[in-house]
């Protein structure tokens, strides 16, 4: 997305919010200054730029590649060590999501769902990893692209299975409704199926990641200010409490990272399943 601020802008905003020594978390943290730019000129400035969030994405993508490559490079009949771990992870998505939801269609979509799950999980978990400390998926472009991928896949699968007419009929005209009521029902079904699905997928993920980051910054920033910066003796116990709360929310964020990856993949599978199902 084109919302990369230059470092001057970022500094001005950061300075204005920290007059009394405590800087509360702000949305600006999700638009870090660009580190370097490259490529041919486009509208007066280089076409591509990298921020630290982009670099985190590259690191996590590389990590996933290396992990699954080493895990599954020379598969043994009786798995051991890292292969064991890799197979447990892959089996989790295949059994708990693909086969559970899609039944005999699972094979066609398992690859997509597995990729989606591990990409989202790896991008989410960077929110609590030392030195990174921001979820790569808290930039809206990432969930948006994933949401649109899900949208195109389930619509394509549905149209392929039922033909355009059959697919639209299945989604927009639920059976068993008196004819005049379709006037009221069909717009609702159209919006909830074709507009809400990618939008809710995107917003659910990005909002969870932004909120999680905000909470952590607030508690640790508060602990730092109250314990180390502030002179007031009364604030010290509160600072300790804030630190403990920050730790608790760090653990909670691990759960959220997993849960959001799971729910995103599960809902994609559910949408595909609804699109390719024979009955209805």
């Amino acid at each position: 997305m084109g919302a990369i601020l230059n470092s001057d802008q970022a500094n001005v905003i950061a300075a204005s919010s920290s007059e009394d020594g405590f800087s509360p978390p702000s949305i600006i943290e999700f638009f870090p200054p660009k580190l370097f730019e490259f490529g041919p000129d486009f509208l007066g400035q280089p076409m591509f730029a990298m921020t630290r969030i982009n670099i985190i994405m590259l690191i996590m993508t590389t990590f996933l590649l290396v992990f699954f490559f080493t895990a599954l490079r020379k598969p043994q009949l009786v798995p051991s060590g890292i292969q064991n771990l890799g197979e447990v992870f892959l089996d989790f998505v295949r059994v708990q999501i693909s086969e559970e939801v899609l039944g005999h269609h699972a094979k066609r979509f398992n690859l997509l769902l597995t990729t989606m799950f591990f990409m989202i999980f790896a991008f989410n978990i960077t929110g609590i990893l030392p030195l990174m400390h921001i979820a790569a998926s808290s930039v809206v472009a990432v969930p948006l692209i994933l949401g649109l991928t899900s949208y195109f896949v389930f619509n394509y699968a549905g149209v392929k299975q039922h033909g355009l007419k059959g697919y639209l009929q299945m989604n927009l005209f639920p059976p068993g409704v008196p004819l005049p009521l379709y006037l009221l029902v069909t717009p609702i079904e159209a919006v909830s199926t074709f507009i809400f699905r990618p939008a809710t997928l995107t917003i659910r993920l990005v909002a969870n990641m932004i909120a999680g980051h905000m909470l952590l910054v607030l508690f640790y920033g508060g602990a730092n200010y109250m314990l180390l910066v502030s002179d007031s003796f009364l604030l010290k116990p509160l600072g300790a409490f804030s630190y403990v709360a920050g730790f608790a929310f760090t653990l909670f964020e691990i759960l959220v990272a997993f849960l959001q990856a799971y729910i995103f993949t599960l809902l994609t599978a559910v949408y595909i399943s609804g699109a390719v199902s024979e009955e209805h």
């Binding site: 059994v95 086969e99 559970e100 939801v101 899609l102 039944g103 005999h104 269609h105 639920p174 068993g176 409704v177 009521l181 009221l184 029902v185 717009p187 609702i188 079904e189 919006v191 909830s192 507009i195 809400f196 699905r197 809710t200 729910i263 599960l266 809902l267 599978a269 559910v270 399943s273 609804g274 390719v276 199902s277 024979e278 009955e279 209805h280």
Partner: protein
């Protein structure tokens, strides 16, 4: 989890919850927006907006009933009707 031959047409568990929420939200949204638009055109705020919200909500509950409530399969997949459970 052995009978994997039949395709499940309807979402269950978590997926069902989100589908229902999506329908419930989009009803008032669609008909509320249409009502608001009519209000602006006719300068009758907020009559049609209110009507749209109510109609949208009622119709979306009706859609939920048609899609998920009437269907025995959904109830069965989610553990049966608690009101009819014996013991």
């Amino acid at each position: 989890m052995t009978e994997k031959t039949k395709t499940k047409a309807l979402p269950k568990g978590e997926g069902l919850v989100w589908s229902v929420i999506g329908t419930l939200v989009s009803g008032p949204l669609v008909w509320g927006a249409i009502g608001g638009f009519v209000d602006r055109r006719l300068a009758t705020e907020p009559r049609y907006l209110a009507l749209g919200l109510i109609v949208g909500f009622v119709v979306s509950m009706y859609v939920v009933y048609i899609r998920y409530g009437k269907n025995d399969e959904v109830v069965k997949q989610n553990g049966g009707n608690p009101e009819q459970r014996s013991g």
